[in-house]
Point group: C2
Chain length 203, copies 2
């Protein structure tokens, strides 16, 4: 076997481990925790189906590939829960080391390409990265919505925290943020999510 194909297959086998990285989100029907590979698969299909709602025109193949690979570093670095302030502090250092190790399994040109795509997602400046982030938020939101917001109540997440995270959706898609806002308001109304400030006032 040529060395190039050997490297490509070694990388392909390595990323199988992403299926063992579990997230805080639960599958619909109050199912088990979702893993990173499933999340990425779901996001990529949703990106394709919902591309008409991107704020700017996007290269959808690039968005899909970005969705598919954006969590690969978590094979080493683990999943960092969006509302875990302590873990968020060390997230970048852990993910940088993982990025170097895992993408180095590939031939140099593909290492460069995938690293750049990963960084583009992280930097969230391009139309494609912004739209991919909108999907990174919306995909777990629709699962959590279908499960009566139990992923929030389990962790005592506040309405402020949810809005702070979900506000990034707006940069990628005003339409999808509109729907996100509608869903969040519904859960606030039902008592699944509470305002920290308002709670404080009541005490």
């Amino acid at each position: 076997m040529n060395d190039r194909l050997r490297k490509q297959l070694e990388f392909s086998l390595e990323i199988d481990k992403e299926k063992n990285i579990f997230r805080q989100t639960h599958l619909s029907g109050h199912g088990r925790n979702e893993n990173d590979a499933e999340h990425a698969w779901h996001m990529a299909i949703m990106a394709y189906l919902l591309r008409e709602y991107a704020n700017e025109e996007v290269d959808i193949a690039k968005v899909m590939l970005m969705c598919l690979i954006h969590d690969i570093v978590e094979i080493d670095a683990g999943d960092t829960y969006a509302y875990d302030a302590e873990a968020l502090k060390t997230q970048k250092a852990r993910e940088d080391a993982a990025k170097e190790r895992i993408f180095s399994l590939l031939p140099d040109d593909q290492k460069t390409e995938l690293t750049a795509l990963f960084d583009e997602f992280e930097d969230a400046q391009t139309a494609e990265a912004k739209f991919a982030h909108a999907l990174d938020n919306l995909q777990p939101l629709i699962l959590n919505h279908s499960n009566d917001g139990s992923d929030w109540s389990e962790h005592g997440v506040t309405a402020e925290q949810v809005y702070s995270r979900q506000s990034r959706t707006r940069e990628g898609s005003e339409v999808l943020f509109g729907e996100t806002d509608r869903i969040i308001r519904e859960h606030i109304q039902k008592g699944h999510l509470q305002w920290e400030l308002r709670e404080g006032h009541l005490q």
Copy 2:
């Protein structure tokens, strides 16, 4: 919410169920059974990385999307093991009914588009479909290879059966079939796979 977005999100939530459809393949490291969503995610990334080996030039975005959706019908129809002759007889009827129900959740234009893409994969006539099939074979092969061929031995699969299935890989990629052939020979040599005919002669 507009009716179009409502339908798109309803479909998006429905396909979450694909994460509960488990296959006969096991994850690397002698892990648990793999599910359809993980398999599709893995295939789509491999398709992108290995696209240089396609026999004909392919529209890689189309191949990736084909990979991502090709098992959605199994939400209703279940996974049909490639070497289960009885289940294979009813597979088409079960999958046709599922295809109609699930893609009908989408707006009409997207139903038409995704149904056509699904059918194109099934018909395996275009360059994209042939290459996607090569990946549909290669992805579980590299997992099984890493697990000493235990998915074959568990089901008493013969070398003839493996070659019969994997021969389709050749239509999409001679290079990937070359590697497939090398892997199969290695497992025959190690006794993980046996020729049915040769076994018969020995009895």
